[in-house]
C-alpha cells in the first residue's frame, strides 16, 4: 500500500484500476479529462487505454469489451454524454456482462461548459443506476462499488462526480499490484446481444421490474448515510454534502442524510430518515432530483413533512453551490447566524478578468487574418468548442455563433442558405474536427453549400489540457502512430480548394482567405501552428523608439503581452512568445526583436 495525494479524477482512475478494469476509453472534457491521463500513468500490464475520437466511439468500444466479460470504464463530461447517448440508451436495454461504469462529470456553474444538465436525470431517463460521490476519498471506493453493482445487475452504471469533486485533492491509499481482472471472452448469442424491437420490449419490462429492487438494495448501501437526530433534516448529495457536513458539525440536533445513489432512489432508506422529521431542506446542485423524489415519497406515504429546496425557492434554481452558499441557506433553515469574516464594506471596484487567448496563441493570428481579408464584406463566423471560442472577445470579435462540438461547420451552411450572397466561415480545432467535424463537411459537399472551413490546427487538444488526438501521431498506449492527415481527409471528401498556411505569416494568411472567397463550393484553409503552451517558444518582441503610441497593436489584436505602462505601449517580457503578429500590424515598423518565425 502507498499513499498518493491525488485529484478527485485521479482517485476515480485509481479506484477503477483497483476494480480491475481491462479497458478504458473516453474523450477529453473539463472536468473529466485527468481520469484517463491518470490511468495512462499508473496502469499495470494489459490495460487498454484510449482517447477515442469522440464519446460515442468511446461508449461503443467499451460496450463490446464489456460484452466480452471485461471490466470497462468510459469517461466524459456531461455534454459528452449527449454525444454518447445513442449507444447508452440502447445499451441500457441490452445490458452488459463485465462491469461497465460510465463517468459523466457534471459542471455546476457552469464553469467550463455549455449546459447545466444533470447526469442524475440522464440516469433516470436511461433507467440505469447512478452514483454521486461527495469527495475524492469517497469516489475512490464508490467507483469500485459501482463496478460490483454493474455486474450484479448486468447493466451499465453511471458515475457522476461534479467539478469540485473532480478537481479537489486528497490522499488515497492505493494497492500497487492490482492487475486487470481476467475475462471470459465474447459468447455469441444473437438473442441477447442484437437489439430488436422484441428484445427491447422484453428487456424494458425486466428493467422496470428490476429497478425498484435496485432501489431496495441501495437502501442498505454504505454510501447512503445519516447522522444527527431531530425534527429538521437536510437531504443532500455530492459536494453539497461536504459543505453541509462542515456547517452542521456544530449542530447534532439536525439530521444530515446523504443520497449517494440518486437513481433508483433508495426509498426505504429515505423513509427511515424521514421518521419523526417535520421539515426537510434539500441541498443539491443542478436539478431538484432528491427533492422531487422526497416529494413523491411524502405524497405516496402521506407524510406530514414540509420539503424545501429549489422547487420552493429556498435554494436557487441554477448555478453552483459553495461552502458559503450552503452556510447561508442552512442558517436561514435553522435560524442560526452565518460565520462572517472581515468587514467588506466600501470595497473598490475590481477589474474584470475574462479568459483570453494566450499571448502568442496562433488562433489570434488566424482570426485576425480572416477579419482583415473580409473587412467590409458580409460574412458569418461560426465558432466551435475549444480555446478558439475565446476568439469572440474584443477586439477580435470573430465568433458569431458557438453551439456544440462540430456545429460550426453545419451552421455555416444554414447561414449560406439563408443569405447566399454572404461568405460563411466555420472555425474548428483539430481535435474537434476529428470528433465531430467530418460529417459536417460531407454534408456541405453533398448539399452544394458554399463555405470556407478554417481548421485551426495547433497539434493538440489545448483547452482540456493538451491531450493527443488522431492528428498528433501519439496515442494513450504510448505508441507512435501514423498521423491522420486533415488535408488528405478533406481531399478525399472532395473539398474543392485546400490551402495550408502558417497563421503567424499575416500576408500569406490573408491571401489564402481572399483566394478562397473567389471560388464557389466548399473550401478549406488549414491554419497550422503549434499551441504555444506545448512548443514554449522563448523569444520576445521589442518596441523601439520609433513607436508613435498609436496603440494600433493593442486595439487590433488584444494580446495580453501588449500592455501600457504610464500610457506607453510595452511588451510584457514574461508573456511574449515572439509570435511576431504585432510587428506585422505596426504602421511604423516599431516592433522588432527576436521573432520565433
Amino acid at each position: 500500500m502507498r499513499k498518493e495525494y491525488v485529484m478527485g479524477n485521479g482517485a476515480i482512475a485509481l479506484g477503477a484500476l483497483e476494480a480491475g478494469i481491462r479497458l478504458v476509453s473516453g474523450y477529453p472534457g473539463t472536468p473529466s479529462s485527468e481520469i484517463i491521463e491518470t490511468i495512462g500513468k499508473y496502469k499495470q500490464g494489459s490495460v487498454h487505454v484510449e482517447w477515442s475520437v469522440n464519446e460515442k466511439a468511446a461508449m461503443e468500444v467499451a460496450a463490446s469489451a464489456s460484452y466480452s466479460g471485461a471490466r470497462t470504464l468510459v469517461t466524459m463530461k456531461q455534454v459528452g454524454l449527449n454525444v454518447a447517448s445513442d449507444p447508452l440508451m440502447s445499451l441500457a436495454y441490452v445490458g452488459v456482462k463485465g462491469g461497465m461504469v460510465v463517468v459523466s462529470a457534471d459542471d455546476p456553474g457552469p464553469i467550463s461548459s455549455q449546459t447545466e444538465q444533470d447526469t442524475r436525470m440522464f440516469a433516470s431517463f436511461c433507467r440505469i443506476p447512478v452514483f454521486d460521490p461527495s469527495s475524492p476519498e469517497e469516489a475512490f471506493t464508490m467507483i469500485q462499488d459501482a463496478f460490483d453493482y454493474s455486474e450484479k445487475y448486468c447493466t451499465p452504471v453511471l458515475f457522476r462526480p461534479t467539478t469540485r469533486v473532480c478537481h479537489a485533492y486528497a490522499s488515497i491509499e492505493i494497492n500497487e499490484t492490482t492487475a486487470p481482472r481476467p475475462y471470459e471472452g465474447f459468447v455469441k448469442d444473437s438473442k441477447k446481444w442484437v437489439i430488436f424491437p422484441r428484445l427491447s420490449f422484453l428487456n424494458h419490462a425486466m428493467i422496470e421490474k428490476r429497478n425498484p429492487e435496485i432501489g431496495k438494495d441501495f437502501s442498505s448501501y454504505s454510501g447512503n448515510t445519516v447522522s444527527g437526530t431531530g425534527k429538521k433534516a437536510v437531504f443532500t448529495g455530492g459536494i453539497s454534502y461536504s459543505y453541509a457536513k462542515e456547517y452542521l458539525k456544530d449542530y447534532p440536533d439536525v439530521k444530515l442524510c446523504k443520497i449517494s445513489t440518486p437513481y433508483p432512489f433508495p426509498e426505504q432508506y429515505a423513509l427511515s430518515c424521514l421518521q419523526g422529521v417535520e421539515e426537510v431542506l434539500c441541498i443539491e446542485e443542478l436539478s431538484p432530483f432528491i427533492e422531487s423524489e422526497l416529494l413523491k415519497i411524502a405524497g405516496s406515504h402521506n407524510l406530514p413533512v414540509k420539503i424545501y429546496g429549489k422547487l420552493t425557492g429556498h435554494v436557487r434554481a441554477s448555478g453552483e453551490n459553495s461552502a458559503d452558499y450552503a452556510a447561508d441557506i442552512l442558517s436561514a433553515f435553522l435560524g442560526t447566524a452565518a460565520n462572517k469574516g472581515v468587514d467588506l464594506s466600501a470595497a473598490p471596484e475590481l477589474p474584470l478578468r475574462p479568459p483570453v487567448l494566450c499571448a502568442g496563441c496562433p488562433h489570434r493570428a488566424s482570426f485576425y487574418a480572416v477579419k482583415k481579408a473580409m473587412e467590409g464584406k458580409k460574412s458569418y463566423f461560426c465558432g466551435d468548442i475549444g480555446c478558439y471560442t475565446l476568439g469572440n472577445a474584443m477586439p477580435l470579435d470573430m465568433v458569431d455563433t458557438c453551439l456544440c462540438m462540430g456545429a460550426g461547420i453545419t451552421m455555416a451552411q444554414g447561414f449560406h442558405w439563408m443569405d447566399p450572397d454572404s461568405t460563411c466561415f466555420a472555425f474548428v480545432g483539430d481535435s474537434t474536427f476529428f470528433a465531430s467535424g467530418m460529417t459536417g463537411v460531407v454534408n456541405a459537399i453533398y448539399n452544394e453549400a458554399d463555405m470556407i472551413l478554417c481548421v485551426l490546427d495547433n497539434a493538440t487538444t489545448a483547452m482540456t489540457g493538451h491531450q493527443p488526438h488522431p492528428g498528433t501521431g501519439k496515442n494513450m498506449m504510448g505508441h507512435i502512430v501514423d498521423k491522420v492527415s486533415i488535408e488528405k481527409i478533406l481531399a478525399g471528401m472532395g473539398v474543392s480548394k485546400i490551402l495550408t498556411v502558417n497563421p503567424l505569416n499575416l500576408r500569406e494568411s490573408i491571401n489564402a482567405v481572399q483566394e478562397c472567397t473567389a471560388i464557389k463550393g466548399v473550401k478549406a484553409i488549414i491554419f497550422k501552428s503549434p499551441c504555444i503552451a506545448i512548443s514554449k517558444p522563448e523569444k520576445q518582441m521589442a518596441i523601439s523608439d520609433k513607436c508613435i503610441q498609436c496603440k494600433k497593436c493593442i486595439r487590433e489584436i488584444g494580446c495580453p503581452a501588449l500592455i501600457t505602462i504610464d500610457g506607453k505601449v510595452c511588451i510584457d517580457k514574461g508573456l511574449c512568445t515572439g509570435c511576431g503578429l504585432c510587428s506585422q500590424i505596426c504602421p511604423v515598423n516599431a516592433i522588432g526583436g527576436d521573432c520565433n518565425e
Partner: protein, 196 residues
C-alpha cells in the same frame, strides 16, 4: 494542526505550484490535507484560486468564507476579490504589482492596484510585498510564487518550517531552476521574518 490557506492570483502566475508545495510539505509533516484548484477556461488570464485545508476537521475541499488563516495574493485586486474568505484576525500577504487585464489595455481605467492595497490595509493585517523588487536578483517575477511562499513561511503563518518546504521545492521543481527557486524562497523567508 488546523489551517486554511487561500492562494489567489491570475492564471499563469504560478499559484498552482505554490499550493502544491504547501500541501505536500504539510502532508510530509503528518497532516491530513485537502485542496482545490481552478482548472480549465479560467486559467487563461482569469482569476484563479487554490484552497488548501490542513487538518482533520475540514470536510469540504473549499474554505468557507470567514475562515482562512492566511491569504497569499499574487495580485492586489485578487486579494480584495477573495477577502471574504479571511477570518477575523487573519493575515493577507499581497504582491503590490498589479496584473492589468487585456480589457484594461483597451479601455484604460487607470487600474494600478494602489487603491486595493490601501483598502486591504484598512481592513486587515497585511504584509505588502513588491514582487519586482523581491525578484530583482533572480531576473524574473516568474519566481514570485516561490518567494511569496517564503514570506508566509518566514512570518510563521503556515505552520511549516523552511527546511521542509525547501525539500519539497527540490523534489518538485525541474533541476535547472531549483537553485534559483531556493534562493527566491530564502529571500522571501527573510522578508517574512522581518515582518513577523
Amino acid at each position: 494542526m488546523n489551517k486554511d490557506i487561500l492562494v489567489c492570483g491570475v492564471g499563469g502566475q504560478g499559484t498552482v505550484l505554490a499550493s502544491k508545495l504547501i500541501a505536500s510539505a504539510a502532508m510530509n509533516l503528518g497532516n491530513t490535507v485537502h485542496s482545490a484548484e481552478t482548472i480549465g477556461m479560467a486559467q487563461r488570464g482569469g482569476s484563479v484560486t487554490s484552497h488548501i485545508r490542513i487538518g482533520d476537521t475540514a470536510y469540504s475541499p473549499m474554505i468557507p468564507q470567514g475562515s482562512a488563516d492566511v491569504i497569499l495574493a499574487f495580485e492586489p485586486a485578487e486579494a480584495v476579490r477573495n477577502l471574504a474568505y479571511l477570518k477575523k484576525g487573519g493575515l493577507v500577504i499581497v504582491n503590490s504589482i498589479p496584473v492589468k487585464p487585456v480589457t484594461e489595455s483597451l479601455h484604460d481605467t487607470g487600474y494600478d492596484g494602489k487603491d486595493m492595497i490601501t483598502y486591504l490595509k484598512s481592513k486587515c493585517n497585511c504584509i505588502v510585498v513588491d514582487a519586482m523588487e523581491l525578484c530583482l536578483p533572480f531576473g524574473s517575477t516568474r519566481y514570485f510564487n516561490i518567494a511569496i511562499l517564503g514570506v508566509a513561511v518566514g512570518a510563521g503563518k503556515l505552520g511549516l518550517d523552511a527546511e521542509t518546504v525547501l525539500t519539497e521545492i527540490e523534489a518538485r521543481v525541474p533541476a535547472k531552476f531549483a537553485d534559483t527557486n531556493k534562493a527566491a524562497f530564502s529571500a522571501g523567508v527573510r522578508v517574512g521574518a522581518a515582518n513577523k
